[in-house]
Subunit: 163 residues, 4 copies
Amino acid sequence: MKIKIFSVGGTIDKVYFDRLSEYQIGGPSIRDILENLPLNFEYEIVSLIRKDSLDMSAADRELIYAAVEQDTHERILITHGTDTMIETANALLPISDKVIVLTGAMEPAGFKNSDAVFNIGCAIGALQSRPAGIYIAMNGRIYDPRRVRKNRAAARFEEIERP
Amino acid sequence: MKIKIFSVGGTIDKVYFDRLSEYQIGGPSIRDILENLPLNFEYEIVSLIRKDSLDMSAADRELIYAAVEQDTHERILITHGTDTMIETANALLPISDKVIVLTGAMEPAGFKNSDAVFNIGCAIGALQSRPAGIYIAMNGRIYDPRRVRKNRAAARFEEIERP
Amino acid sequence: MKIKIFSVGGTIDKVYFDRLSEYQIGGPSIRDILENLPLNFEYEIVSLIRKDSLDMSAADRELIYAAVEQDTHERILITHGTDTMIETANALLPISDKVIVLTGAMEPAGFKNSDAVFNIGCAIGALQSRPAGIYIAMNGRIYDPRRVRKNRAAARFEEIERP
Amino acid sequence: MKIKIFSVGGTIDKVYFDRLSEYQIGGPSIRDILENLPLNFEYEIVSLIRKDSLDMSAADRELIYAAVEQDTHERILITHGTDTMIETANALLPISDKVIVLTGAMEPAGFKNSDAVFNIGCAIGALQSRPAGIYIAMNGRIYDPRRVRKNRAAARFEEIERP
């Protein structure tokens, strides 16, 4: 099994620089996470974009779309900021020949209590279990991007009830 | 979504006691792990057995079988020692009405570099993505218990090639 | 032995809130750190101020001065932001009947790689080893506040060479 | 400032090997700890012995004594198992020209909740604050080795009351 991974920034990759007293987007934190685990699959990581997801433009989403569509792997994982993860996932819906899972973190991967490792695990579990399609792995759930929203106050993703 | 979780001991739950200069099986480490994550599903944890999996008897496996079979949840997660996880998984094969995923860890959950959080994430991703059946989530892979072995030298689970 | 601890904010206490996409000063991180260690001394923690140390005013320093001067403990530890820690330490120089050590962290205590635990250890080691006076414990060194500066580019405290 | 560090094994250096299902003494954990901190002093680490301190012999203590006595650094830190740390410290009492601090950990440095980083910080704070002599830094205290004992039941070092 081989997984292609695209990182596009977001909270999961935020690091803290004391001398600037602010957060910045660092390199793909998924690299450190996977390198320190005893895994039995191959993967390749490409850092596409390093942005807070609120700052992502239509051009950024086109870049992600093109990269994912042209990629030849069957299983694609995208680490993404949580604020616009759903928007990007919906933009990818036309791609029907791959299993694509987007994940991220509510706290930077560098934090002791970050949900990054768990979320990535969850995404990888789904990636080899679901049929082709676009999915969001957050808060221990595998969501359909057309029926999920981020509840900012509760700091979690929630299913949208069907009418 | 609700998940039922059974813990039966194993490396994942090992803790270290200095005054004895040895490790012992502690309470279900999955409890601490899940309590500290921003989750959006319900779960219930039952500690069935606290043993090194090498010390598990046929009676222990019967106990696990009965607990899983009688449980009314559709999705069941079992945290288990790695040495006999495959044996227990195979013993559960007759149960056909539930999704059952077994996972564990190569290093105790108390270790900084433990694979416990990732493996549990992976198991939970599979648990809501797979059809009814018995699965093993280790090393980032979802295995069929009839076609996997633990390679002790490499400290990982591997697929058995079909003849 | 009993130690009085005042927390006044700073990087060490910074926490991250995803829904605001920024960090804020949380409660005294030293409380969590000490509660999880097997210690053999008593301590009492008072949260005096919760500010980035760049935002501290003269009035804030007067508040710290009054609290420390009036306190009856012989050994006082102050967790402080690194940007103006030296300024506060120098403001405390008139107090001559206590051992006072200021410490903090270059990365928030919530980070896996934070220097917070080490720095607090270093401060507590000095607190019971030095004569009455004001000290700064950072980067593994115990500094005289009259002969130290923060080198922002190198992200560390350095001794000022005497002329 | 330069510190010479000798590691001689003990709980602090214990690592866990799943395939053996037991703990073993690994390399000096203090190396990893110090390498990941923003320090402003020099140090040199020598791994003298890799043993559980209960297994240390008179010959091992002679080796430590010779290494410390012949060393030309003024400040020497020894990471040591907790069970016989006091015995080794007392054996070093004849050395009067150096500041020597012994420390260790109640839980292996690889554990999330280990006291290793804090204890090493404490030892380094004492090392540059105390006059020449032999000290034990454990549980947040700097002890005189002639007046301390390890209370195994309470899992901590305690001062022996003078008669």
